[in-house]
Amino acid sequence: MSKPLPALSRLLLAAAISVTLGTPMLAQNNATLSVVAPFEVLSPEPSIAGYIFTRMGIAETLVNADAEGRLLPGLATDWTASEDGLSWRFTLRDGVVFHDGTALTPAAVINALETARAKPGPLGDLPITAMEADGNTVVMTLSEPRAALPAFLAEARAQILAPDAYGADGMATAMIGTGPYQLTDLSPPLSLRASVFAPYWGDAPHVGNVTYAAVGRAETRALMAESGDDDFVFTLDPASVTRLGNSDAVEVLSVAIPRTLLLKVNAAHPFLSDIGARQALSLAIDRAGIAQAILRYPEGADQLFPPAIGAWHNEDVAPLTYDVAAAQALLADLGWTPGNDGVLMRDGERFALTLLTYPDRPELPLVAAVLEQQLRAVGIDVTINSTNSSEIPAGHQNGTLEIALLARNFALIPDPIGTVLSDFAPVGDWGAMGWDNAEIVELAQALARGEGDDADRARVTAILQEELPIIPIAWYQQTLAVAAGIEGATIDPWERTFGLQDLRKPE
């Protein structure tokens, strides 16, 4: 039996323990955290790979968003709109410096945003007529009210880089941001390194260095997580999620995100112009089967917006269901009768459609193959064309697209009104096609101006549920494998940040 320690020794011991245990937790250490994700980092240009730099904590935007999509101060500490909604004032944060040592000024912000607005993207479509500096404030003048303006400024393409970051043609040639991490090496297209930026305005990150590697194959990413060599592996394939779930070396996180797997339908197509035909298509789809067998999610989507988007998820609409007999009845009402090979015929025409999809997301061709079978069961003959993703907007524009399977992100801007406006008011490259609904256009425009309320949002989703210009199939889940020992990992459902500055990794 050992003697009890004298009081002073106990105190010293306690202090020593708290120092040894506490230090790596409090101060930033020299560890390196390695991030692996499928996205290639092609260039420092915000419109091309900007989202990687915001996610890595290298570049920042005026406005941030939390996990619920609520807007938070970023490089702007607050913002106000005039009574008529045509003039917005964004007050800039004091004491912010770019990674090249220059100060964040209204002029630098205006330069960055004007440069971004000259490129294709949602920012360029905003009705901004002027941007001026007023003291430490940026004043934006609009030609019509746009309540979601701050949300547009939270998007990666609206990131604020130092004036020296841009080349003569407006394309960024260097990544000079304001984030907690400073880029130290960029090797396009696959990797970058960054270290803590000491003069950062906010809380210093805990981990001193971060690396990013783009790895295209999901199977390889899963192996990298499994080997324990990489700490933070983003986007896993469904089979690997199951396998890694059994491993002690990693923890797998999974979160529903505002991205929906859906069928884009050409409502101007003679076979699909009737609401009944689109409803029949929807009834023919076994969403739970697709979700469980291919995506390994517990359930499919019974409306467009997942519950994660509180304001746009509508509890009151009748959920989309799977009912082959009802689908067949609807099609029979429209004059379709089964032909010799089981495919429906009407006026000598076969009910045959071409389905476009793209292999960039590996689950899409698989889901397409299942859809082909499920639609065949109600007498619709589908031919799959798995091609370049750009064939979908191209087919939309020239009117040749019939149906397309795609994964639509409703949160590029952390307020879905941006996507609703571009996709359903009344049509959009990745949204409705050949569809015209005056009510939804009016509602969406009013919501964009800031005039509508939750009842209007509910009406928009009810119209989409009723008319089915697009047919929702499943809500996506984002997955992340984190090495054991890393603390504080979360997934941002709005996919704006990896949250690296909050992570802790023992040295």
Binding site: L42, I48, P120, P189, L190, S390, A394, D429
Partner: protein, 307 residues
């Protein structure tokens, strides 16, 4: 000297043929180039008609093909490959970066295969029909016929044992896995070539005479064997570089290696014409260069070709 002159003419021919044919092929691909480039640049979430129109206007894609061809050939003469349509970086810079990564991987693979294949081949060739010869035949046939499958096996095994990183780039240990996977396939063929050459040479009168005149086995091999074996081996090595590129494309995608194979595949998908043209050209000229070096080396070790 004539070799060099011949090869120089060959290089010029390769440049013109590769240049014109890649230009024609990229023009002939189906689909709207503006949309493809926009998809490559901005990703599938952001490719829209507006983005495609902006790309079309920026790059002048509506222009007639003939001036564009002349422009490209003119730039070629000045060795100006232009900038990538997707990343906006100079093509030359990207190629140097990516070809460098591939070249190191290829060299590591060839080096590794030379350590494995030829020594075994020589041993087997010295005793044709022996145990080693028969085992080597089976193993090398097996290795040659299942490269990707084998790759997957090594990957899974080494990851689960915690021996090697599954993928990555930048540290020397990242070389081991892809280089080994490529080298096993190369060594399989190397070993066969060496073995056949060795077996043939041991049958030759001069080789037997060297033994009769009293030299020991090792002496015969060093003085009369190795140089003769080296000639077909080196010639074949030139060819192997070509097949290596094929393997590199697959391996680079699997292990996330920022190499030329990876770059070429992505450039084709994104309709990044300058990048495709530049890469194809550099690869074409690279083959000419490798063959020239091999020719010169073979002439040095084999006096029969000299006049």
């Amino acid at each position: 000297m004539t070799i060099l002159l011949n090869r120089l003419v060959q290089a010029a021919m390769v440049a013109i043929i590769v240049g014109v044919s890649t230009f024609a092929m990229m023009r002939a691909l189906p689909g709207d180039a503006a949309y493809r480039i926009a998809a490559g640049r901005y990703g599938y979430d952001n490719v829209t008609a507006a983005a495609a129109d902006a790309v079309r206007a920026e790059l002048g894609l509506d222009a007639h093909w003939f001036p564009a061809l002349l422009q490209w050939l003119g730039d070629l003469v000045r060795l100006d490959f232009g900038v990538s349509l997707v990343s906006g970086q100079p093509v030359m810079q990207e190629i140097v970066h990516q070809l460098g990564a591939s070249l190191w991987l290829a060299l590591a693979a060839v080096g590794l295969s030379l350590l494995m294949g030829p020594p075994l081949g020589i041993l087997a060739g010295l005793r044709p029909g022996g145990l080693l010869d028969r085992v080597l035949l089976v193993v090398s046939t097996g290795l040659k016929s299942i490269p990707q499958f084998l790759m997957a096996l090594i990957l899974i095994l080494s990851v689960q044992m915690g021996w090697l990183p599954a993928a990555g780039y930048g540290q020397s240990r990242h070389f081991i896995l892809p280089a080994l996977a490529l080298a096993l396939g190369l060594a399989a063929v190397n070993a066969r070539i060496t073995r056949d050459a060795m077996a043939r040479i041991t049958e030759m009168p001069f080789y037997r005479f060297a033994g009769w005149k009293g030299l020991r086995h090792g002496q015969v091999l060093r003085r009369h064997g190795l140089r003769n074996v080296a000639v077909p081996l080196l010639t074949y090595l030139g060819l192997q570089f070509v097949t290596l590129i094929e393997g590199v494309v697959v391996i680079e995608t699997i292990v996330g290696w920022p190499g030329i194979g990876h770059a070429l595949v992505h450039a084709v998908f994104a309709r990044d014409v300058p990048m495709v043209q530049g890469t194809a050209l550099v690869l074409g000229l690279g083959f000419v260069l490798i063959n020239t070096v091999i020719d010169l080396t073979v002439r040095r070790i084999d006096p029969r070709g000299r006049t």
